[in-house]
Symmetry: C2
Subunit: 120 residues, 2 copies
């Protein structure tokens, strides 16, 4: 279960993280909010803890979980190369729309030469 993405592939784990994004919470609270069986919550929290997404503090019989920033920062930096790409894309789109706006008919674009027997 190495990668952060594998951890986040699980919907309930993402839900847990979303709740914890607001504030730290006890297991019982998470359990009630998500309407999940307690063992399920504990197991997912374990996975999240071992992956570094959360850490727990002991408060009497309760365990209070809170987020840790590192894995999110890693996610963010993984995303970085693609961010370059998609913002370029958006820029291009915007420029395109600009041109469309003041030039009614762009007539480039290729026509197909021979319509052939297509399958499917």
């Amino acid at each position: 279960m190495e990668s952060a993405f594998a951890i986040l592939a699980e919907p309930n784990r993402r839900a847990l993280l979303n709740l914890l994004a607001t504030s730290e919470r006890s297991v019982g609270e998470l359990e009630r909010r998500l309407r999940l069986p307690q063992p399920s919550v504990s197991k997912h929290l374990r996975v999240l803890r071992e992956a570094g997404f959360v850490e727990s503090r002991v408060d009497a019989q309760r365990r209070v979980y809170r987020l840790r920033p590192e894995p999110f920062m890693e996610l963010d930096s993984w995303l970085a190369p693609f961010r370059r790409f998609w913002s370029a894309h958006i820029d291009a789109l915007e420029r395109h729309l600009d041109r469309m706006e003041r030039q009614p008919a762009p007539k480039r674009r290729n026509r197909r030469a021979s319509p052939k027997g297509r399958k499917r």
Copy 2:
């Protein structure tokens, strides 16, 4: 296999996307660069395509794949709530280090705007 995270849980798929981040590439090229069996590449590309991460263009017998921005933008916005959290964290750390550095500390540093690729 709904979520984008489930798609990215697969290391080979992430590798494919990383290659495509540079430029569009044919299946054969991806195959050679990643040293993966061809069916594997095709299968992963299919998953990526159906999830909207890539699209393919036909060039004679070749299929050339390129990235699509949407899923990455979704990822980025999923990350947003946590970004708030972790940048607060970093601010605290920076302020702390500042105080450590210059003895009896002055007030505050300026706020950070956008996170960059950090190392550990």
